[in-house]
Every structure is written in C-alpha cells, then in structure tokens.
Amino acid sequence: MNAARRIVIAGLGTMLLRPAGAAPETLRVAIEKFAAGAAPQTGRVTLEIAPLVDNGNVVPVTIRVASPMTAEDHVRAIALFNEHNPNTEMAIFHLGPRSGRATVSTRVRLATSQQIVALAKMSDGSVWQHRVDVIVTLAACIES
C-alpha cells in the first residue's frame, strides 16, 4: 500500500472516530487489520445490543448485515470489536454463499461502559460498520 493511500485511509479513519473520547489505538489497529486496506463505511450493518445492559457479564448481541448472500455478492466475515475490554477482539464470524442470511448472535462480556463495533467484510472487499455506545453498571449484590 503506497504512502498516499495510507494517508487517505488514516484520514478517513480519523473522520469516523467520535470527536470526544476517541477509540484507543488497539481498536483502530484491529479494525485496520480486519479491513485489510478498505475504509470502513457506515451502513448495511446493524449491531443489536441493549444500550443499558442488565449485567456486563452476559450481554446478548445480534449482528445483521443486508446482503443477498449469493456467490457473487455475500458477506465473508463479521467482526465484533470493543473499546475498553482487556482484549479488543470479541468474535469473528466466517460466512459464505451457503449461509443464506448474514445474521449472527452470541453473548459477550463487557468490562465497562464503552463503544462496541461490528464490521462486515464483503466478497468485493468493501467493509461496513455499525458502532453502538453501551452503558454497563456493576451489580450491587454479588459473591463476597
């Protein structure tokens, strides 16, 4: 990748970050690695997660991507990243034309209130994203 293209992509990446409390370096690096050169665009991806979770230990998540899922046009992978957990990566789902529908669900752990990012990599190399801010509180009555 030549220097000019890298600068453009870095610039686009900066534009997509929230102005206050920008995502940390590791999240940016993880997104870049997954996107493999493509600039993530907002859209086509819907990250369903409660804005205020009942308990940060088990948070249901569903990611839906608008795609015909044909051999010519499908989702290859869906990544779920976070801002403030000790590990940025949470899951990477590998799909293909046999999937039929680009919808996946799982349950994640959130260490604290933070932004969660879902990215979808398409068969044409384009990458789409959806970012959601989630509030996590600590449970009051727990094991001693």
Binding site: A50, L52, V53, D54, N55, N57, V58, V59, P60, T137, L138, A139, A140, C141, I142, E143, S144
Partner: protein
C-alpha cells in the same frame, strides 16, 4: 370506633389488587428473551443433565410426570427431622433414606441439576406453600429475619425489597425479591445457583456474614419468601441479572 369499619373496607379493597412483580418483569427485553426462549436459556444445559440423572437414579421410584406440583410446595415439613426441609434437602434425603446413596454436596452441579428438573416440572404452576400448622413457627422466624437489620450497611431485606422495589441500588434495579424461578441462571455468576446462593449474595451486599448453606435461618427465610410469593407462577429455570 366508628372509623374501624371504614379502615377495614379500605384494607380489604387494597388487598384485592395484587401489586407483586416477578424479577422477570424488571429485566431488559434481551434478558427476558433469554429466559423465555429455551433455545437461548443457558440453564437448559443443567436441565438436560438433570433429566439424565433423574432417569438414571430417581425414575426407579418416581415417574417424571409425578414431579409436577412438587417444587411449588417446598420447603415442606419432614416428619423424621421434625423441621421444614428445602427441595434440595428432600432430594438428598431421598438419596440417603431410600436409595442408600451418598448425599450430593450443597450447591453442587448434580444437586442443582436435579433440583432444576424437579422445579421445571412445576413451571407455570402457582407457588403453593402447604397449609401445615407445623411450619408456622419456622415461617415466623423467617419473617423476623426478613425484617431484621443486618450487616455493616445495617439494612433489612424489607427495606430494599418491600419499601424500595423499582428503585436502584448502585445502578442495578431493585426487584421485589420473589423466588419465582429457582434454581436460576444468574448472569452475574454465569452459572446456575440456588435461592440460598442468591441470599448469600444479598447478605454480602449489605456487608453481613452470610449464613452457611443449609443453615436453619435460610430454611426459615425460604419458607417466608415462598409464602410472600404464594400464588405467583414458578418460572424455573429463570434467568436473572
């Protein structure tokens, strides 16, 4: 004295409206879906285990269908011990008395799995504490414990769960605290646990030294809590935050 009839009428009218809520109603839609949908409920892993254990051990004497209606009337009085016993204790008493087998450790996965399969057989049934006069003194002890202040924070159960349900404690919603789905899958534990495990967490929450598993205080509290929840539907296996 002429005000007494008015007061009696007002009290009886108030008693008609049931304002009790299960902890289920205080959860977010996503967590409610986790409980409602068997395909999403993690407790099913323990339930499947319980079904296998029941078939291997208990089915010699008990048809699985005969477990319907059992869990909703526990704790119940045991004649030999001359005191109330919880469902978990009853399962162990069956093992030691009838099967001549070793009891299962309190809060162990096998015991929870069996408790879950028995309680699940009563899913949807109203909690029905037995009308047994011998339970009276123990239930009263439980009521005293419910209203007793304890711990460094000097709170009683009643202060949070009778006086402030619907409020929040450090960001978490305060439920009314009805045992409508035990054993539960608690998100905080990422594990299945009994009502006593949850009560131990409550006691830690007010910085009190929790009673041991199986303590008479816990049996008394369970008796009172089930009476307090009488008529509410059992949801086992419930999911709770």
């Amino acid at each position: 004295m002429r005000f007494v009839p008015f007061v009696l009428v007002a009290v009886s009218l108030a008693a008609v409206a049931d304002t009790r809520r299960s902890g289920f109603d205080d959860m977010s839609p996503a967590t409610q879906a986790m409980q409602r949908d068997d395909e999403q409920n993690p407790a099913l892993l323990w339930l499947k285990d319980g079904e296998q254990r029941f078939a291997a051990d208990c089915a010699r004497c008990h048809a699985p269908a005969s477990m319907r209606g059992v869990a909703v009337r526990y704790p119940a009085f045991d004649n030999v011990l001359a005191r109330p016993v919880t469902l978990a204790e009853r399962i162990n008493l069956c093992r030691t008395r009838q099967m001549k087998a070793a009891p299962l450790a309190p809060e162990s996965a096998p015991l929870l799995a069996l408790e879950m399969v028995v309680a699940n057989a009563s899913r949807g049934l109203p909690i029905a504490p037995p009308d047994d006069a011998r339970l009276g003194p123990f239930r009263e002890r439980g009521r005293e414990l419910f209203f007793r202040r304890q711990g460094q924070l000097d709170f009683s159960c009643a202060q949070c769960h009778d006086q402030h349900p619907g409020g929040r404690l450090a960001g978490s919603p305060i439920p009314q605290g009805h045992p409508t789905g035990y054993p539960i899958y608690r998100l905080e534990w990422q594990d299945v646990g009994s009502l006593q495990r949850r009560l131990r967490n409550c006691m830690s929450g007010v910085r009190a030294l929790p009673f041991d598993y199986g303590a008479p205080e816990f049996v008394a509290l369970e008796l009172y809590l089930m009476q307090r929840a009488a008529g509410m539907a059992l949801e086992t296996p419930a999911v709770r935050p």
